[in-house]
């Protein structure tokens, strides 16, 4: 969390020390994977090896650059300077107004860059195994590289316009990858749904961008004091009042949050995320668990100064309160639905929605570091879980229903071990797993939140549910007897190696965010961090530890008691279904959200489409035909006038002229004597006149 003094420190540093070389070259991090994607797009379909090598090589290069950037920020931080280096340039100049783009290197973007490139690289490697039998292998890596480039563009953007462009590219690649198996109607529909639902949020986001630009006159976040996230612009925004007693800062913050909610699957725009599981599993892991859906959380972290603007010490703002409530509600809502799902990936999808709710609530209540820490740890263990699920699906020959699995720990020991680690991290098992530390940070922030304690209890309940549904899933999949019809087998090395690496991080990452050594929040907030083991002995923290232990014990215990090693037949109803059928049915049908949208939004749109169709056919079509008919009538009148009046007159006059010509030409008989005769008569007449006149 940046206070205003820290921001001023940041400006000073920026004016003192110009951007380093790595900041100048930061654009290479997204540009290289995008370039690779362009090259892969030109490759022929059989060039599989070239495609995957290009994609993996480009992302490895990005990872290297990201690590250099991270090291640069880290060294700056270690020497006590706040590193926030920007490289801005004018893209379009129209008169005196200009459109600026730029990128920023600060702790937030550095951490995000390392996470995205690292997890992305592991998933790319995993994909070479998972997609080995797909004939559109090159297309897959083309899209995947484009996604990586766009996502890294979102991360480094210092201009809200650049961020929005990459944001939309990310949405596009998400659409392309969900619909990767476009010949499946469900995949095509899911892709369309994801695209349209996120677009709803993006419209609000765009409105927010336009408003922000209109108010502050700059698109840049940080620009040596004149950026939109800096003190002078924020002060201006706080003085502007929008409708309903909101300040412009709050209204813009809420609009941007709507965009973030669309991308990050927050209620009520979460409906696309579970359906997005129609895409290949590496896509689910990379895009719909680790990175893209986290982009919304990252966006809120990026515009945090705006969200926080106007908060008094220890207080909160309207926009952060909204973020918290939406996040907490989503966390519980999605966790409830996850309890009653039977598709291995769908459970994880609802779990992702729920965890994104935690992140949002963490941002709302605890600040950037709390939310971002959960984002980073979640990215690792959720990618691990998805890739583990992919390994299970791969090993069971494309079976996704957990009721047709069981006993897989015997057949897939490595997958089981790593999946178990991921599951324990997601449940938040104390001390040893990263998920515990990050979730603990959120719960602690919730406990101290000044507005209400309800989000805290909601999040605790959500944590119990998380432990419950994950235990249910694991006991269905790995314990008991095998109930499927295939011959399960362990996955190839290219798939299990990334699992092992991610499992290591799912445990180890917790070490950077413990209360005793809060390195992560210190790094993001630019404070010194010191190891202080006494923090573990504080009663407040011990209370929290006990609460967490209780949460996990209750969740896992009940679930194990209900499901552990029972291996029910695939056709048998679930234990809970027998106990409370109506609630189970509601949860299984996802609390009827899709149906709700079906009878409200979609029904309204189809009604409106019918009205528009009727208007088009009857009213506008009628007007058009009337005009056409009037013109035809006019044309007919014209033709009548032409043939009967104009032509008649013309013909008649032609005839007259011709007759006159005939008469005149008969004078020219060609007989000289006739001419002479006339001449003589004329002379006689002339002479007569002359004589007559001289007489008179």
């Amino acid at each position: 969390m940046l206070t205003q003094e820290e921001q001023t420190v940041a400006f000073k540093c920026m004016s003192d020390c110009g951007p380093a070389v790595i900041t100048q070259l930061l654009w290479l991090i997204p540009a290289v994977p995008m370039l690779a994607s362009g090259v892969i797009a030109l490759l022929k379909q059989p060039k599989r090896k070239t495609a995957s090598t290009l994609a993996i090589g480009s992302l490895a290069f990005s990872l290297l650059l990201a690590l250099i950037a991270f090291a640069h920020v880290l060294s700056g931080w270690a020497s006590g300077k706040a590193v926030r280096e920007t490289a801005n340039f004018t893209w379009i100049q129209v008169g005196s107004s200009h459109v600026d783009l730029g990128w920023v290197l600060d702790p937030l973007s550095a951490i995000m860059l390392v996470m995205v490139t690292f997890v992305g690289l592991l998933i790319f490697i995993y994909s070479t195994g998972y997609m080995a039998h797909d004939e559109n292998y090159t297309r897959f890596f083309c899209f995947l590289s484009l996604f990586a480039g766009a996502m890294l563009g979102v991360v480094i953007a210092n201009s809200i316009l650049l961020l929005f462009m990459c944001w939309e590219l990310v949405g596009l690649t998400s659409y392309l990858l969900i619909g990767f198996w476009y010949f499946k109607p469900s995949a095509a529909a899911a892709a369309k749904k994801a695209f349209l639902t996120t677009r709803v949020g993006d419209v609000f986001f765009l409105l927010g961008i336009v408003w922000l630009f209109g108010q502050t006159g700059t698109l840049l976040f940080y620009n040596g004091g004149s950026g939109s996230m800096e003190l002078s612009a924020l002060t201006g925004l706080l003085q502007q009042h929008a409708a309903f007693g909101l300040t412009a800062a709050t209204a813009i913050g809420l609009l941007i949050f709507a965009g973030a909610a669309g991308k990050s699957g927050q209620f009520p725009l979460h409906v696309w995320l579970p359906d997005a599981m129609e895409g290949p599993t590496p896509v689910s892991a990379l895009i719909h668990a680790a990175t893209m859906v986290a982009a919304g959380v990252y966006l809120i972290a990026r515009v945090y100064p705006l969200m926080q603007a106007g908060a008094l010490a220890g207080g909160t703002t309207t926009s952060l309160t909204v973020v918290t409530w939406v996040g907490a509600f989503t966390a519980v809502f999605a966790a409830l639905i996850a309890v009653a799902q039977n598709d291995i990936k769908r459970i994880l999808a609802y779990s992702t929605v729920s965890q994104l709710g935690y992140m949002m609530a963490g941002l709302g209540m605890g600040g950037v570091a709390v939310g971002m820490f959960h984002l980073i740890t979640h990215a690792f263990f959720k990618a691990l879980l998805f890739m583990g699920a992919g390994s299970v699906i791969h090993g069971c020959h494309e079976e996704q229903d957990i009721r047709h699995m069981g006993g897989l720990k015997k057949y897939m020991p490595l997958t089981f071990a790593t999946y178990g680690i991921g599951m324990l991290a997601l449940c938040g098992v104390p001390i040893f797993f990263s998920g515990f530390w990050s979730k603990d940070g959120i719960l602690e922030a919730g406990k101290h939140w000044s507005v209400s304690s309800a989000p805290y209890y909601m999040l605790v309940f959500g944590a119990v549910l998380t432990a419950f549904y994950m235990t249910r899933q694991v006991s269905y999949v790995f314990f008991g007897a095998y109930r499927g019809h295939a011959h399960p087998h362990e996955s190839p090395k290219s798939m299990t190696t990334p699992l092992a690496i991610l499992a290591f991080f799912a445990i180890a990452l917790g070490a950077i965010g413990t209360p005793a050594w809060p390195w992560f929040s210190a790094f993001l907030g630019n404070r010194a961090s010191a190891l202080d083991l006494h923090a573990f002995a504080e009663p407040a923290w011990l209370m929290l530890l006990l609460t967490s232990c209780a949460i996990v014990a209750v969740g896992i215990g009940i679930s194990w008691w209900l499901y552990g090693s029972k291996s029910p037949a695939a056709t048998e109803p679930d234990v809970l279904e027998r106990a409370v059928p109506p609630i189970w049915a509601a949860l299984r049908d996802r609390l009827y959200m899709d149906e709700l949208y079906g009878v409200t939004v979609i029904a309204f749109y189809s009604w409106w489409a019918r009205v528009a169709d009727w208007l088009d056919r009857r009213v506008f079509g009628g007007i058009v035909s009337l005009v056409a008919w009037l013109f035809a009538l006019w044309a007919k009148l014209n033709r009548f006038l032409d043939t009967n009046v104009v032509d008649g007159t013309f013909d008649k006059s032609c005839e007259e002229i011709s007759t006159g010509g005939g008469l005149l030409s008969s004078l020219q008989s060609g007989r000289a004597q006739t001419y002479l005769r006339i001449l003589a008569l004329a002379v006689v007449a002339l002479a007569a006149i002359l004589i007559w006149s001289s007489r008179a």
Binding site: Q668, S669, G670, R671, A672, Q673, L676, R677
Partner: protein, 103 residues
Amino acid sequence: MTPLTGYLLIAALLFAIGLAGALTRRNAILVLIGIELMLNAANLNLIAFWRYSPHPEALTGMMFAIFSIAVAAAEAAVGLGLVIQIHRHAHTTDLDQMNRMKG
């Protein structure tokens, strides 16, 4: 009636006879002869006006008449030449049939 009036009347009569011949005759040669008559009527006028003018010693009328007779002779020669050519070409001297100049 002065002697001049007599001359003028004869000249007018001659002119009228010539004109009538030129207008009524079909034969090109006879038309030519009519034109010669009109020319000579004019010559007669010239001589008469000179003889009874205030300065008869100036010989102007005589000169006009001689020129006119010379021109008339040349004209008659050209005219007869044309008529002979037309006759050779069209085997007729009938003017009514020579209407190919008609527009």
